[in-house]
């Protein structure tokens, strides 16, 4: 799966599953402050990522993930490492 396809899929999942407003989705958006993703939403993101990308997110790896770009990079890295 190409990086661009992964980004498109993540964005669509955020819109459909977490109900993030499409206009708020920009690469520099902060997940918590700009997109309002709280600790409970992260629990749901865990489920969404495993169901759609086939790997388990690890909480300890998410500490450095602040922006959407960080999140794209994390997902791409995990997919490629599989």
């Amino acid at each position: 799966m190409q990086r661009e396809d992964i980004i498109l899929k993540i964005n669509q999942l955020l819109i459909d599953e977490i109900e993030i407003d499409e206009t708020q989705i920009t690469p520099i958006a902060n997940l918590k402050k700009d997109l309002g993703i709280d600790s409970l939403d992260f629990v749901d993101l865990f489920v969404i990522i495993e169901n759609n990308f086939g790997f388990k997110m690890k909480a300890e790896e998410m500490t450095e993930v602040k922006t959407l770009t960080d999140f794209y990079d994390y997902v791409v890295k995990r997919i490629n490492s599989n």
Binding site: V43, D44, F46
Partner: protein, 407 residues
């Protein structure tokens, strides 16, 4: 001591999704009972149930407020919206005042089943997601509604089996009467699904008159063969009289008596003594005699033993004055955790519009139930005061007396 009045009501029921529709159904003696093929396929002895469409809340509530809400919470949300609107209470008012919630609920089966199914299949608790815990707990309705409406007063759930909704109103009444709260959102909610009723079906307690769903719930009738499970939600806004006057609120009725008791006997078989003591306590609390009650909304669920014992109990208190009696469960089925609250809504509507809803399907009473003065057809009648009974497993009993408001 504060006087306690009803300033708002809302209902989401198998006989109507709002007060107007429910009032019409009560007048017409309309049944909300269907045959559910899903239950039959699952192995139910009886596939009969009350049924109402699930509310669509996407676009109404944001995702975080919806995700922890089970189906009975959705019913309760719609009923509470209607009740708050009737009470002329908006969000800015709720933000500025200490309004509480006491809701009756005693199960939340589907989220428990679904979350454990996920765990068994995925072997990983993290795959359960964030919503199920808030949907699974018995306190799910008060927990969710207190967040949705940003409530700041008392906040918990009453679990008292099929008397839950009635006890919630009773406890709310006591708190306001004692001056501890000014306004409490009270009510009862009941999920409608196979998962929550399967183990109840196992007790042979449900009617098996599957060929005639709308005739299956027939309280007090000689040929009654069991109850029909049902559900929905009902909300009552209880308020101190002073607060209601200050706000210029419409008053639907006054709660004047609450009686409670425990049978101290069998876990599922009702008796005569327990309900009798609850009714007498409610009348004493109301400082009213039996002859001042114009209508008794019976608990009567259409089971052979339950209706018979309640008939004896009602007769022992009201045998002289013989007020009209009906069981609205003949139309709604047994709304269980919700029933004690919904039947206050039904009876208060009757009081407001001066009629008594019929006990449908009563073709021939038996030797015991024939002692009661049962309304078989819709009856025009001024109701000055009514008494509503609710009983549940474990022998819990609740009786409420509501009076037309006289300043």
């Amino acid at each position: 001591m504060s006087r306690v009045v009803i300033t708002g009501m809302g209902i989401y029921s198998v006989i109507g999704k709002n007060l107007d529709d429910v009032k019409d159904s009560l007048c017409q003696g309309k049944s909300g009972i269907i045959f559910d093929p899903v239950r039959k396929a699952m192995g139910f002895r009886s596939a009969l149930t009350g049924m109402v469409q699930r509310p669509v809340l996407k676009g109404v509530l944001d995702r975080r407020l919806r995700i922890g809400l089970p189906v009975q919470g959705e019913y309760a949300y719609i009923a509470t919206l209607e009740a708050l609107k009737a009470a002329n209470i908006d969000q800015p008012f709720l933000d500025k005042h200490e309004v509480g919630i006491l809701y009756g609920n005693d199960s939340s089966a589907v989220p428990v089943v679904e979350s454990v199914d996920i765990l068994r299949s995925k072997k990983d608790t993290m795959m359960i997601g964030s919503g199920y815990i808030f949907q699974s707990m018995n306190s799910t309705v008060s927990m969710n509604l207190s967040v949705i409406f940003r409530l700041k007063g008392i906040n918990f759930t009453i679990s008292g089996a099929c008397a839950s909704g009635s006890h919630a109103i009773g406890i709310g009444y006591l708190l306001i009467k004692e001056g501890l709260q000014e306004i409490i959102i009270c009510g009862g909610a009941q999920e409608i699904n196979a998962e929550s009723t399967a183990s109840f079906d196992a007790l042979n307690a449900f009617s098996i008159r599957e060929s005639e769903p709308t005739k299956a719930s027939r309280p007090f009738d000689r040929d009654r063969d069991g109850l029909v499970p049902s559900g929905g939600a009902a909300t009552i806004i209880l308020e101190s009289y002073d607060s209601a006057v200050k706000r210029g609120a419409k008053i639907f009725g006054e709660v004047v008596g609450y009686g409670f008791s425990s049978n101290g006997e069998h876990i599922s078989l009702p008796n005569v003594d327990g309900p009798t003591r609850a009714m007498l306590m409610a009348l004493k609390d109301a400082r009213m005699s039996a002859s001042e009650i114009d209508y008794v909304n019976a608990h009567a669920t259409s089971t052979p033993a339950g209706d018979s014992n309640e008939a004896k109990s009602i007769d022992s208190i009201f045998g002289k004055s013989r007020p009209l009696v009906s069981s609205t469960k003949s139309m709604t089925g047994h709304e269980m955790w919700m029933g004690g609250a919904s039947e206050i809504v039904y009876s208060t509507l009757m009081m407001e519009y001066s009629f008594i809803a019929p006990n449908i399907n009563l073709e021939q009473p038996d030797e015991v139930t024939s002692v009661l003065n049962i309304a078989r057809v819709t009856t025009q009648k001024e109701i000055g005061a009514f008494l509503s009974n609710s009983f549940g497993f474990g022998g819990t009993n609740s009786a409420l007396v509501i009076r037309k408001f006289i300043p």
